[in-house]
Amino acid sequence: MAKHQQTFLDPKAISQAESLGLHARFIVEGYMAGEHKSPFRGFAIEFTQHREYVPGDDIRHLDWKVLARTDRFYLKQYEQETNYVGHLLLDGSESMKYGSGSITKLHYGKMVAACLAYLILLQRDAVALSIFDTQVRKQMPRTSNMASIHNVMGMLAAFDPTLQTRISAVLHDLAGQIKRKGLIILISDFFDDEAAILEGIQHLRFGGNEVIVFHVMDPFELEFPFKGMIEFEGLEQIPKIMTRAGEIRKSYLREVQGFCQRIREGCERNNCHYTLINTSQPLPEVLTAYLAFRLRTTTR
């Protein structure tokens, strides 16, 4: 059974399937089947707190049982505080359309977003989805209804990118919009101004949000395996470049590694989890690795 699931969970096989949602469910449930505890435990489901009533508080939230027992006014707060919102921010710029194999970065990002949305809904937390390029293009308000996973999938499937990225502006906007502290999951290739991106992340962190960064890169972008005369046709604004790829490979790799390193360091400075995803890696492996990592760090 396990073997059957394993082969079924291959991201390449997923990419050929019509519905993202179905496969996202398989991926996560396959994972969950082995793990009886949710990796999102600690999303404050069990937390309970009483606060003394102060004038102006809504008396609907008074804990009548406590009042009867102790004759004091306390408010029950757990309902409001225990539901975290998982904000999924997916980069939908044109550069995400690149894919050396059968899967583009965007497709991979969609799968990551779908899986995480499913996982979050599964533990009855709320999830909100935003797809952006220079601004937020598609947005789904937060929901904790499991049935709305279909809306998530539908929105993801329907999105087709057209423009370049301006992540920093979007992050600043979102930081202003998010009222409640939550978990912000940012999925992007970050092909934009690094300093501005990091500023945006910092802005999100200021709001008390936990930010998780999934940096999606194509294996070709990471390894640059080209040889001979190549004309590179830019997906975003930069025009065509013709060069002998083999000869600039070292230099290119240095640039890319430097870029990834800077993003990672910026995230770490802001206490964000940073995960570099190579789209040639199977999605279950990536998720498992990340969730295991998260379990380790949050239970410590």
Binding site: S95, E221, F226, M229, E231, F232, I238, I248, S251
Partner: protein, 562 residues
């Protein structure tokens, strides 16, 4: 300079890498790419380096093709110009004539020449040179006819070269060497002529010079002289036995000619004659010998045993030892048996045809006649049939008119067996019989006998000879007549014999040289008194045989009468 200048057209191939370079720029893959800014950054940092590398690569490729085209065109340096010598195709002509055997006491000129060639000349050739090797005497021997690139092999062959005993003539060798070099593509073609510079080798100096002059443009000729020219060289240039017969235990006279081939006068040259390997029998001194002069001396020696002996004349060895001695082979005999058939015994002994001949053959005391080396027996014509001819070495028919068929047959067999037959025609002789039996049928006569003319006793040989020459119609007959005349003179007025012989010999020699270049078969067989006489010249043999009676008898007769 190029050996294959046509291949320089290959230089046009230089355009190929440029074309390929340009075409390659048009051949590329198109990739839709997201991470453009990194590519752009990487390219900005590398573009300059790549451009320079491109140019260098293009230049190297062009240079490679240029070099290839140049290499195929085979460039050569005519002048070394300080860049090292260019390859040589050389022909080494080594003089191996006998004069190269001359030694300076330690090594012969030939040894010096070989060493010089192997150690000095070949070692100066740059690698890639080829060498051909000829040995030149009066013939050309091609040791390495095709130039070889294996210089060690050439060295070996040169060191293994052998001297010969021939003379020198360098012209054919030079012609051959030029032929070998003809059409070779090499730039440096050279001929090395290693010789001791004997005058005989350059007797066609004009031709040699012309040949070198004609080929001066293509072929450089070096003449390498070896050995110091030595002013002294003596040679034994002739040795002959002056005595007609070589009987054992008789003193035989040998004439030795010594020639001074050097440039200085030689004094007190001892000349020795030795029989076989025995020590020298006799020695004589030549007091003085001017340059170029030849002198003959007579030396006497005795042969002790019957059979063949080597007689060697020697002078002391000089730097060219092989010409300091000369040998001949002499057949020593014990006795010669002569049968005299007297055709006209006469009433008195004095009238007999053999009255003078017999003592002429045995000019010694009657008591010593039995021990003399010529034994003569006189028989009458009637006894001829019954006589065993194989017991005699020479048979003399003196004025014999004719004889039986058996006797003619016996004489023919005797001649075929190598015995001598001497016919003295006289007044009784049946000319027709002799011409028929001895000339026509058996070919024993040297010439046809003619009619007797005049009186043999009073006619002078010279007049007979003049008559014979005038009567040029039948010269063979003339020679026979002269011989007959000589004999008659011997019989009747022997006092005049020496001068007659001298004159007759001179005139005969001229006659023989002109008219009888080859000896007649019958004459040779019929008149050979001594077998094995070592006179190597055919003409001389014929001449001496024709004069046999006079030449042989004269010393004995004069000694007897004097």
């Amino acid at each position: 300079m190029f050996l294959n200048p046509l291949l320089l057209f290959g230089l046009s191939a230089v355009s190929l890498p440029i074309l390929i370079h340009l075409l390659n720029r048009r051949k590329y893959h198109r990739v839709v790419w997201a991470a453009m800014r990194f590519v752009q950054l990487a390219m900005q940092k590398n573009q300059r380096r790549m451009d320079i590398e491109d140019l260098i690569l293009l230049a190297l490729r062009c240079l490679l093709l240029i070099l290839l085209a140049l290499a195929l065109a085979r460039p050569v340096l005519k002048d070394t110009g300080g860049w090292g010598p260019s390859r040589v195709t050389a022909v080494i002509v080594l003089d191996n004539s006998y004069s190269m055997a001359q030694t300076d006491g330690t090594a012969t000129r030939f040894d010096l020449a070989r060493k010089k060639v192997a150690d000095q000349i070949i070692n100066t050739f740059p690698s890639g040179s080829s060498v051909s090797f000829l040995l030149a005497s009066d013939i050309v021997s091609e040791v390495i006819p095709e130039p070889t690139y294996d210089l060690n092999f050439a060295r070996e062959r040169i060191m293994a070269a052998q001297l010969c005993d021939r003379g020198t003539n360098l012209l054919p060798a030079l012609q051959r060497a030029l032929k070998i070099l003809e059409g070779r593509p090499a730039v440096r073609k050279e001929i090395y002529l290693i010789t001791d510079g004997q005058a005989s080798g350059f007797r066609q100096t004009g031709d040699l010079r012309q040949l070198m002059e004609d080929n001066r443009k293509d072929v450089r000729t070096h003449i390498v002289l070896v050995g110091d020219p030595d002013p002294r060289n003596l040679a034994v240039t002739a040795l002959r036995m002056a005595s007609a017969l070589a009987p054992v235990n008789q003193s035989l006279r040998f004439e030795v000619q010594v020639t001074n081939e050097g440039r200085t006068e030689a004094r007190d040259v001892p000349v020795r004659v030795a029989i076989d390997d025995e020590p020298a029998a006799e020695e004589t001194l030549i007091a003085s010998l001017a340059p170029g002069e030849a002198k003959s001396v007579s030396l006497f020696a005795k042969l002790r045993v019957e059979g063949f002996h080597t007689v060697t004349a020697r002078i002391p060895h000089d730097q060219l030892p092989r010409d300091d001695e000369r040998s001949i082979v002499v057949h020593a005999i014990k006795q010669v048996q002569v049968l005299l058939v007297d055709g006209k015994p006469g009433r008195e002994a004095r009238e007999s045809e053999t009255f003078f001949l017999r003592p002429a053959l045995q000019p010694v005391d009657p008591a010593a006649q039995d021990r003399f080396y010529i034994q003569a027996r006189v028989i009458t014509p009637g006894e001829l049939d019954a006589t065993r001819l194989d017991e005699f070495d020479v048979i003399v028919l003196a004025n014999l008119s004719d004889m039986s068929a058996a006797a003619v047959g016996g004489l023919e067999r005797a001649v075929r067996d190598g015995r001598g037959l001497i016919i003295f025609p006289g007044d009784l002789v049946n000319t027709a019989f002799y011409n028929e039996q001895f000339l026509t049928q058996r070919g024993l006569l040297p010439a046809k006998l003619g009619e007797a003319r005049g009186d043999a006793c009073t006619l002078h040989v010279a007049s007979r000879l003049a008559e014979a020459i005038e009567d040029g119609a039948d010269l063979r007959r003339a020679s026979g007549a002269i011989r007959a005349g000589v004999w008659h003179l011997v019989g009747h007025s022997y006092e005049q014999l020496p001068e007659i012989i001298a004159r007759a010999e001179e005139e005969f020699a001229a006659l023989v040289d002109v008219l009888l270049p080859q000896p007649l078969a019958g004459e040779t067989q019929a008149a050979t008194p001594v077998k094995g006489e070592a006179v190597p010249i055919t003409k001389a043999r014929a001449r001496s045989l024709l004069h046999f009676p006079a030449a042989n008898m004269a010393p004995a007769l004069t000694r007897k009468t004097g």
